[in-house]
Every structure is written in C-alpha cells, then in structure tokens.
Amino acid sequence: MRHQSWAEPWRVKVVEPLRMTTRAERERAIREAGYNTFLLRSDDVYIDLLTDSGTSAMSDRQWAGMMLGDEAYAGSRNFYRLQDAVRRYYGFPHLIPTHQGRGAEHILSKVLIAPGDHVPGNMYFTTTRAHQELAGGTFEDVIVDEAHDPASEHPFKGDVDLEKLDAVVRRVGAARVPYVSVAATVNMAGGQPISLANLRAVREYTRRHGIRLILDATRAVENAWFVQQREAGQGDRLVAEILLEMCDLADGATMSGKKDSLVNIGGWLGLRDERLAERARNLVVLYEGLHTYGGLAGRDMEAMAIGIEESVREEHVRSRIGQVHYLGRKLAEAGVPIVRPVGGHAVFLDAAAMLPHLPRDQFPAQALAAALYLESGIRAMERGAVSAGRDAGSGENRYPRLELVRLTIPRRVYTQAHMDVTAESVAAVHEARDRVRGLRFTYEPEFLRFFQARFEPVGAPSPFAERAEGELGAAAAAAR
C-alpha cells in the first residue's frame, strides 16, 4: 500500500531543550529588540521559525563526518569528497567552496558584473541583489506576474516571463547582460518553484543571445521535488535526476549549503568554464580562504558532502515538504490568509491581507512578526517592504506587492506538535488582527536594513493596542 502520511525517515538522536517564556518576558524582549525579530536572543524564543538557513539538525552520519575533518590548509581530503558530491548531484566540474552562500554571491558578482550591467532574475533576493548592486549592476525582475499575487494557484510561480526577459535584453542589449540569475525555488515569492520546461526555455533563449545562466541552487532539491509532483511527464523521475537536469541547464550556480544540504555552515560556487573558475579562485583567497577550503573547516566540507547525499533522497524531501504543507493546511483551515500554493521551505502569511488597516509605510509584516512573537514566543521573519529596502537610485522605500511574514521550517528540527502549536498561535493572532498596530524606523542601516533595523510602535506602547489582560488567551483557547 502507498502511505499518505509523511512520517520522518529518521528518529531523534540528540535533543536541545527549549525554554518557555512569560508574556511579560516577551514584552521586554521584543522592546529591547527594537521590534525586529532578528534582534531577539534565541533564549527568549520558543519556536524559532526565523529561517531554515543553517538551523537544521545534522544526522549521526554527518556528525561522524565531522570527526573525519582533515584540517590541512591545502588539499584537504574533505575538499575532494565535497567536489565529488557536487559533481555527482549538481554536475558542476569546478567547485569553489565558500563559508556560506553570500560568499559565493560576492565572488560571482565581482567576477561577472561590470558597472552598468543589468542582471535579470526571477524576483530579487536580499543578499543576491545587494551584491549585484555593489558590483555596479542593476537587478531586473522578470518573474511571471502570478508570483506577485499571493492568491494565484499557479503551480510554478517561480517561472521566468520570457517576454519580460526579452524586453530587458532588447532595451539594454545582450552585451550588458552578463547573466540571467534564476533562483530555484524563489524565496521571496513564497518558496515557489520554477518548472523544468521554463528553465529549458530560458536556457534556449540565453543560448541564442550568448548570455550566461546562473542558478541560485540554494533550494534546488526542493524545487526538483515540486517538478516531480506537478510537472507533466516528470512524475516517474527521481528528485536527483531532475536536480541534475536543472543544473545541466546552467553555466554555474551559487549555493548556500545551509538550506538544502542540511549543514550549519557552508556554501559553494559551481562553474563549468575553467577560465571563469580560475578568476573566481583568485578572489576566493582574498575574501574567503584558500580554494580548497574557502573559509570552511575540513569537517564542514565533509558534513556538507554527506548532507548533499541525504538531501536528495526521496523520503527526505517528501517528509520535509510534507511538514511545511501540514502547517500550511492547518493555517488555511483556520482562515489565515497565506501565500498559495504553499512553497517548499516556509509558509508565508499575507500580512497585507491580514492587516488592511495598516498603511504600507507602517510595515504591516514587520508588525505582524512582532505581534506573533509577543503572543506566542514564535519567531518569524518579515519579507516585505523592510526587506526590500530602498531604491538605489531614488532612495525611496520599495514597496513590493508581497508584504509577507515567513514561518520558515528548519529541517529535521521541529515535530508535528510544534507545528500544531504554531498553527494555533498564528490563528490566535489572526483572531485579534485588528488590534495590531504599525511600526516606524528608529534606526535604519545602509545595506540589508532588515537585519539590524530598529522600530517603535506607531501611536501605541505595544504592537498590540488596548489589550485587555487574558483576552488573547481566550482567543487562543477558542481557536483550539
């Protein structure tokens, strides 16, 4: 028989205790954190859904691999092991390890982008765009329109709109487009996948115009699973086969191993062109480390090599995404507006729909994340106007159509009961949503402001206005 449940293909080997906090403690903690969940101390957090990046639980095999670290400065055997794993599962012949994904983005942007260049991509990602802009490039969004519509049930909202891409190339000329940046999955759209057919079409187009295609492979395994589940003719293929074909279509990839590859630290840049790889290696020694360790301990490369093998197993991806969808289903049943369809690594709350009484310049998603923490101790992340930052030219706030709060599920860390508590907590805040107040900046950093920005509630001492003691508790009980 074929089971419908997605029971985890592992059991628990090591645990880490969690701490419950009181409402008074959380009031103090979120105030001290400037109403920015990034600035909370993890000890004050009950369930940490800030990010799935580097927060996974490693397997006993990965820990065993940690003991096999060869910490030689040059030529560590763990490097060759990682190179083999990347070649086998991602197919890139040249591997340049980096301490994490943004290290790879930093080097790639420096190597490929000249001032005045334009880089089309299927929606921006914070660090990716920051590096493109630092190198003098301009990001051009060429994702399909459906990606900006949280309610659209399009199965591949990560697809590139080829007409938009063509319009950019016609406008600036192919010579000013060093590469097209394709993310799989698309984080800012809600963890939405790109279809294989679309990726093939982009490859075909870029080949005709002599433009490189660079894959952001951070969650490409999760993307491959969606292709298997949703794309016609792909249902009988293995996730690993689909992953390899996706990579075959690209000239290179940046990777944060902290996501799909189940490690706490590590990333890489994979390339096909030997000369390009040589230039990247010359930069990696300056910023990261020698090209055979790239700023990672040997043990970290070993753990990543093992993590890659574990990450492409069917039963792993199935339970991973199964858990995310379980939470999504619960929230949808409770009437909470979420981005549809649910993506691979997170459930995204539609803060604009949930808090229509807050104007965009009071950052509804930031306020919702603060309110959720205050109510439940659950830490989520704003993915809206604060993350989007200011326009490099005009200095004005960018207001993306999506104003979201991301409930990101770390891999192999939380149980179904944790997901149940999360769903109840979000439902309780949703019940009391009209009392959530907006926020304004008290400190705004120059780059990637969402990380370190500080806020204060607008016209109220707390992001929850006029709260009667116990009222929300009652709402939570009702939701249960």
Binding site: A72, G75, R77, H99, N264, I265, L286
Partner: protein
C-alpha cells in the same frame, strides 16, 4: 625535586592516521601539483607544517562546546558565550565574529581605508597586505632593522620602528586611517613584540589621533615571550599581559585559527561604537548576521573555550619549547635558521643555505619542494614568491628568503619533530645540489597559493651526485 623535562600538558583523545609515501609517489604528486606545495593533496603529505592556521587539535572541552552550539540565525546563546570570552581577554566593547581572520581585515579595511591611504604595520602578513591593496591603500612595513637580520640576537625582533612610524604619521597626516601591530610578527620569523614597543606605538598613535589595531592572531604566544623576556613581567600571567597589550589599542583583528585554538573562525573587536556599527553593516553583506558572522554556532563555542586554553601557562611553555627543541637540533648541526626561534614556527634561512640559487629562481621555494620530495614534509615559502610582486606588477626580491616549518597546535609529538630534524639535516647535506625554480603561471593576487612552477634547470630539483 624539580624536573626539567617539559611535557605536553594533555594526553591524546583522538588520533588521525597519516600515510607514508615513496619517493616516486612524492615526485609524481609534486609534478601534479605544479611544484607548488599548496596544491598538494593533504593525503600525500606525511608531516604537514604548511601552517599553524586552523590545523590544531581541539580539546575535549572544545568538542563538548561543539555539541552545545546554538544554530539560531540571530541572537544565538553561543554568540553570548563567544562575546563574553572575547571581551574577557581583549577588553574591547564591540565583538564582531567573522568566518576567519582575513574577513575581519576585509571588513575593517573596507570600512576605513580609502584609495591612497597608508597603513603602517610592523610587518603586514600576506592577506593583510592584499586586503589593504584591495582598497588601493599602501601597506607600509616598519620593522626594526634587527627584524631583517636572521642572526641578530634581539629578544623582540618583531618590534615596530617607532621613529619611522613617527615620521610616517607626520608625513602622511590625514592619510593614515589606522596603525597595525602584528603579534607575533609572522613574516619576520614569528618574532615577538614587546609591551614596551606596543606602548610606544600606542603613544605615537594617540599623539597623532590615529587608532591602533592589533593583528592578534598569536597574542598568547606573544604574551609568553613578554613574560619570559621583558623585564618586570616574569610574575604576570599570560592573560594579564594580553589584557595589558589590548588595553593599549583601540581594537584588533583576530584569526581564531591560530591562538583561538580552532579550525575555523575569527573576529574583529573594537571600542568605537559608531565604527563597529559601520563594520556590522558591511559584515551582513559578505559574512553573515552580526551574531554569527559566517560561523556555525558550534564554532563560536569552540573559539570561546580555545581562547582561554591558549593562555594556559603549561600549554604555552610546551608550545614554545617544541619549536626551540627543533631549533637546538638544527643549530647544533650548523643549519642556518632564524634565531631566536619564534613562537609558532621555525624558519630556515634559505638565502644563506642556498646561496648559489639566485633570488629570481626562488631559493626558499625550491627548498620547500625538496623537503617534501625527500621527507614528505610540507612547509611554506616566505620569500620572493609570497612578497616579490609589487602592486605595480614589477618584481622585487624579498628581504628574506625563508622556509617556514609551522607547528600545528597539539598535533605532532616529539618523535615527529625528531623525524623532521632528520629530514632537514639530510636535505642540508644535499644543499649544494639543489636547483632553483621558475614560475610558469601566476594569478594577480596572493600568487603563492595557486602559482605553477617548474625546475629552472633540467627536470630535476636536486642535481645527481
């Protein structure tokens, strides 16, 4: 009674097998590595003295810290543990973790160095120099003259020339964003810097209103030399000496892969809150969020423990003594080395040893290749390959042609060291037959890591007898 034998203040908990190779295997491996030991596979190396950076053995306490790593992206308690440990040792108010030392340099220089600025240092190390030059700054070395004399018997050959610093600060008013002092002075032979010298440098910096930063990679080893050699410090603990040194500075960059006793990691620590905030803003671009800086939570824990272990007196006595021990063996046999022996490495003086090899044929590089070929030992050249290329692309021979035998911390035993001595003495007996090399390919920056070489005369590095 008082015993004189200095033993390791630890026993072995975990071992890692090493592999013997034949001379034919090593010749093939060297050819495949384009005659660059950085390109050798570590599995083909018997005793790896390439660097003491990130190659140390961690303690059981560090490994237990690894299991306590809090991998939360933001505000992890492992960061609190790390921050407390760094503050406790350095006293600096703001602690910014980075994935390793060069990233701390990148962040600091990227934030304060403008094109045309001058950054004085007793001697810049390779990545420090490259990061200053990456910002189009001038990396100026101001060692005392004894620093360049391999045989000079000076207790603190790593010192900075304070008069030259004064002149530099006067002549470049407004163009010196910071002064750095590297402890110990790696490029000059792992030589220590006296506290008196740091104080004089600090005074000069204060007078000119220029901040002083310590490149603190080997601060604990430096503290040990101060305790042993500087009048008035014999009764001080290494921790007290380290704190006194840091108190003279405004901040430091640190590679925790050295005296942090860790396999990865580093930090930038400083007192200026506004500058710290600017550095954090840059940090999130290239490293990571300010409470992890590109490190796993478990690494932050390991460094916090390692910083204190590095300051343990029994450990430092053993550490410095191991190098001295090898030095005594080589000196007794008349092998030219840099004296006194330094903190983390023994430096062979290839200029005196291979006087028949001209500097444009890279004698120290050739010597490092022969050490591998004959004994499977990997060592690093610190000479004209590492430092010969000038920012304008021209070539100038380096002051010193050294081969560094760097000792990983707590990794090799006395019998390993005895073997190394035997190999070095054997290679010394071949000295007259060793030939130079020529560079066949080189990248524009930090070329020693990836450049290709070939024997300059014929196919052999060592001429037949």
């Amino acid at each position: 009674m008082r015993f004189h034998t200095i033993i390791e203040p630890f026993r072995i908990k975990t071992v890692e097998p090493i592999r013997q190779t034949t001379e034919a295997e090593r010749a093939a491996a060297l050819a495949a590595a384009h005659h660059n030991v950085f390109l050798l596979k570590a599995g083909d190396v018997l005793i790896d003295l390439l660097t003491d950076s990130g190659t140390g053995a961690m303690s059981v306490h560090q490994w237990s810290g690894m299991m306590k790593g809090d991998e939360s992206y933001a505000g992890a308690r492992s960061f609190d543990v790390f921050e407390r440990a760094v503050r406790d040792v350095t006293g600096f108010a703001h602690v910014i973790p980075t994935h390793q030392g060069r990233a701390a340099e990148h962040i600091l220089f990227g934030t304060v160095v403008r094109p045309g600025d001058v950054v004085p240092n007793n001697t810049h190390f390779d990545t420090t120099r490259a990061n200053v030059q990456d910002r189009e700054g001038v990396a100026l070395d101001l060692p005392i003259p004894a620093g360049h004399q391999p045989e000079a018997a000076h207790p603190f050959k790593g010192n900075m020339d304070v008069e030259a610093l004064e002149r530099t600060l006067c002549e470049n008013r407004g163009r010196v964003p910071l002064v750095m002092v590297t402890v110990t002075n790696n490029s000059e032979g792992g030589q220590p810097v006296s506290l008196g010298n740091v104080r004089a440098v600090s005074d000069a910096c204060r007078r000119h209103g220029v901040p002083l930063f310590i490149d603190a990679c080997r601060f604990a080893e430096n503290a040990w030399f101060v305790k042993m050699r500087e009048p008035g410090y014999a009764g001080h603990t290494p921790l007290a000496i380290a704190r006194e040194m840091f108190a003279l500075a405004d901040g430091c960059t640190m590679s925790a892969k050295k005296d942090g006793m860790s396999n990865i990691g580093g930090f930038l620590a400083l007192n200026d809150g506004a500058l710290a905030q600017r550095c954090r803003t840059r940090l999130v671009l290239t490293e990571g969020f300010p409470t992890y800086g590109g490190l796993a939570g478990y690494d932050l824990e390991a460094i916090a423990v390692g910083l204190r272990e590095a300051l343990d007196e029994d450990y430092l006595r053993y550490r410095i003594r191991s190098i001295e021990y090898l030095g005594e063996k080589l000196l007794a046999a008349g092998v030219p080395i840099v004296t006194p022996t330094g903190g983390h490495a023994l430096y062979l003086d290839a200029k005196r040893w291979l006087w028949h090899v001209p500097q444009h044929e890279y004698p120290a590089w050739a010597l490092s290749l022969v050490l591998y070929l004959e004994g499977g030992i990997r060592a690093a050249e610190i000479g004209s390959v590492m430092f010969g290329r000038q920012p304008d692309g021209s070539e100038r021979p380096a002051e010193l042609e050294l081969v560094r035998l760097a000792f990983p911390r707590r990794v090799y035993t006395q019998s390993h060291v005895d073997y190394v001595a035997e190999v070095v003495l054997h290679v010394a007996s071949l000295a007259r037959r060793i030939r130079g090399v020529r560079m066949t390919a080189a990248p524009p920056v930090l070329r020693h890591f990836t450049a290709h070489f070939a024997p300059a005369h014929g196919a052999l590095l060592v001429a037949p007898a």
